[in-house]
């Protein structure tokens, strides 16, 4: 089966600019996750979708981050305006049955804010 697709692979922007990341999960996976992985740390959950509804966005900095999952398939994560501390790898993951099976991760987008 095809994996979790993410784009772009790399992005460099200046602080205060906006940026968007795209994720296409594995076909049939109802649950989609966005993680932020700062250099030297493990991934941290930003938001979880079940189909097109938000299950958990408690760790999403809502003043600057937003995410949507239209039609319960693809998802977009946006940052506006970006700060230097947003420099990280943004990983998308999807799951068919939830936590017990583990998730399938994409290769991520490396964001550098200068």
């Amino acid at each position: 089966e095809a994996g979790v697709a993410q784009s772009p692979r790399y992005k460099i922007i200046e602080k205060r600019q906006s940026v968007a990341f795209w994720c296409n999960p594995i076909s049939g996976h109802a649950t989609l996750y966005w993680y932020q992985q700062i250099l030297g740390q493990g991934p941290k959950l930003l938001i979880q979708f079940q189909n097109n509804g938000v299950v958990d966005d408690s760790q999403l900095p809502k003043d600057r981050f937003s995410a949507e999952r239209l039609k319960g398939v693809d998802s977009t994560l946006k940052i506006q305006p970006a700060k230097l501390e947003d420099s990280a790898v943004y990983l998308c993951a999807s799951s068919l049955g939830g936590l017990p099976e583990g998730y399938t991760f994409g290769s991520g987008t490396r964001l550098t804010v200068v």
């Binding site: 740390q41 991934p43 936590l99 583990g102 290769s107």
Partner: protein, 112 residues
Amino acid sequence: AQTVTQSQPEMSVQEAETVTLSCTYDTSESNYYLFWYKQPPSRQMILVIRQEAYKQQNATENRFSVNFQKAAKSFSLKISDSQLGDTAMYFCARGTGNQFYFGTGTSLTVIP
């Protein structure tokens, strides 16, 4: 606290040898899952092995096995017959409800 601790930032092992990566965690819950993920330079997180906390038998997947000590809240990963392709970051994670809690990772280098 929902912490996962990996106390070895970097490790190396000779090709074909065995290496053990340590992981401890903190939880007050009785039902949870434990995972080891591998992250090569390609950045994709790849599931290596998982363990259900209510199962006493240690999980194994080919050259990968775990030593799960529930009372000690310890979940170490043993890699046997190390191969060059095992070079990567390894993350231990505890899963409860909808969330993973990841450790900070161990960078493993397999030396030819």
